[in-house]
């Protein structure tokens, strides 16, 4: 699976409705406060990227597509193995 598929699979397993890649999971109220933290840990563990304070912007985590862009950017920046 590519990066987006893995993100889609993880979020899909944790929300109860079908999502488009650009759906804002926070705006739609699909996830609670615990899942926000869970999502950050998932990104760090699954993709071996370091999420620092500046990265923790809602815009980087609000949708499947946003997370995909964020991870690809981090990998491109050389923070992933």
């Amino acid at each position: 699976m590519d990066v987006r598929d893995r993100i889609r699979s993880y979020i899909g397993a944790n929300v109860t409705q079908i999502l488009d890649d650009d759906d804002d999971i926070f705006e739609l109220g699909l996830v609670d406060s615990l899942f926000g933290l869970q999502l950050v840990s998932f990104v760090e563990q699954e993709f071996r990227v370091e999420v620092d304070g500046d990265d923790l912007d809602i815009d980087n985590f609000c949708s499947i597509a946003a997370i995909d862009r964020f991870i690809i950017g981090k990998m491109g920046a050389g923070s992933a193995p």
């Binding site: 397993a13 944790n14 109860t16 926070f26 996830v31 609670d32 406060s33 615990l34 899942f35 926000g36 933290l37 869970q38 999502l39 950050v40 840990s41 998932f42 760090e44 563990q45 304070g53 500046d54 923790l56 912007d57 809602i58 815009d59």
Partner: protein
Amino acid sequence: MIDEAVSESSTAADRARRFVGEMVEPLAEKIDREQHFSGQLVGALGEQGWLGAALPAQWGGGGLDPVDYGPVLEEFGWGCASARTLLTVHNMAAQAVLRYGNEEQKQLYMPGLASGRSIIAFALTEPDAGSDANAIGMSAVEDAGGYILSGEKIWCSFGCIADLFLVFASCNGKPLALIVERDSPGLEIERMTDAFGTRGSELARLRLDGVRVSAANRIGAANAGIRFVANTALDHGRFSVACGTVGIIRACLDTCTVYAARRQQGGAPISQHQLVRRTLTDGLVAYTTARALCERAARLRAAGDPRAAAETALAKYHSAEAAIRVANDAVALLGANGCSPEFPVSRYLRDATVSGIIEGTREIHQISLASYALQRPWTDA
């Protein structure tokens, strides 16, 4: 192997047990009665490394990981819930600064926070914003390289003595987090008294009237104040409350087992009475299960596991509910003595009740943990 592991991981807990037994627990009743936490004890907590115990050694902290820190919190919870509250609020706000602060902010704040020379309080709750943190009314207006803050915060634990406040405000509808210094012009701090429990928590009401804060004091992104900064702090707070509440259960058991063995009724110690024995058994089960959940949460936290936040919430919910039940049973087991200030169990009940409310109420946990249940976490346990 198990004994070795326990021995290694209990080093910090052993030190905490000695410190709490000698320096904290003997003051707990006085702290509760006088609703005041001694400045001398705050100093000792800093000097002995307890305020920065879970902060990185890089900044002068103790560097304890959650597996080692949890039992330390249990000891403080056993001895004095107000002391545990100080560790909770200071550490949770400091952890947020550590996670979201930039290098300059860490250089500025972390040495003081890790050493305990500087105390930081967490200022989120408002008169009209509790469980719904997104409803905060504290306004932040951008102005000349900073923000002007106006509004009110309540139930700010250790706000009466804090040097710094992690304050959450809304700027153009976006929630942000800012560090506000105690001597900021326009900040008024008023003591809140006669709370039901953790009465030595130096509770404060903060009134901010045009308090100017530099943009350099903003922690995290301009839209991440609640979703990430506050929730990260609250996650650390829940772990602390969960472990501390295990200590309350143990304290109840300490009192109840001694009392039941000594108290004679009907020609025998009440420990031989069947319903008293049931109370002791229920208490033991509560302690064992709550501690096991805290240990599980600690291991997941140490591993950076995505389930850690939810498992921490699970531990906090269970521990607090169990502590309320056990403390209530303890008061009943002691009969009229349970209602007397001569015994600590009524304080334990009041403190346990507060644990069930702070860092997420019982009802909020019931809602959010149902979402976790729908993830079927047991399938990859």
